[in-house]
């Protein structure tokens, strides 16, 4: 693998491990046609919007 491919791979694994709790191990989509991904909720988006608002008002 090239340096860029390796860099991508490391980043992907890091991100994948961070959100692994949102997935099931089983191949649900293949079996049922409907996938599974636990919602992370709206807290993150609210936090982002609040910080954008804050930086705009400065």
């Amino acid at each position: 693998m090239t340096v860029a491919e390796n860099k991508f791979l490391k980043e992907a694994i890091k991100q994948g491990l961070r959100m692994q709790h949102r997935f099931l191990a089983e191949p649900v989509l293949a079996r049922t046609g409907k996938g599974y991904m636990k919602s992370e909720g709206v807290a993150t988006l609210q936090r982002i919007k609040a910080s954008l608002k804050k930086s705009k008002s400065r």
Binding site: E11, Q20, A25, L29
Partner: protein, 132 residues
């Protein structure tokens, strides 16, 4: 935004897909093994798509199709969702943080097979904005 249609998957050889799945399975002590029916078609679809110039919508669709083919015994969803979301990193840098979060989230839902019609419409409008 230039560069939205490009060889998105070129930077991700199939062996990287396998490595991501291996790492995710290892973290949860799950079996990392190819499936007898899904592995070859998913690998072929992925490798075929690597040399093609693709729109973002096509990239999401390929991620979804590979996920659905289930090339691995475990964690197919996380494997393809995380790869597609990581591919978006450069595009997201050029977007306001809230739009970037929404695009990343919708991309994940499409590949995971959980996207709603509202999200698909939202994606269309974000992609139109990005294309301008």
């Amino acid at each position: 935004m230039a560069g939205l249609v490009k060889k998105w998957l070129q930077i991700v050889p199939w062996e990287a897909v396998v490595s991501v799945n291996a790492a995710l399975c290892e973290a949860r002590k799950a079996l990392h093994k190819p499936t007898s029916d899904g592995y070859t078609p998913a690998k072929e679809l992925w490798e075929r798509s690597r040399s093609r110039k693709l729109s973002l919508a096509e990239v999401f669709q390929i991620g979804f199709q590979c996920h659905r083919l289930a090339p691995f015994c475990n964690y197919n969803g996380n494997t393809f969702v995380t790869i597609i979301r990581t591919l978006l990193n450069d595009v997201l840098k050029g977007l306001p943080a809230d739009k970037a979060h929404i695009l990343r989230s919708i991309a994940g839902h499409i590949v995971a097979g959980t996207a709603t019609d509202i999200e698909r419409k939202q994606l269309d409008s974000i992609l139109v904005t990005l294309g301008k």
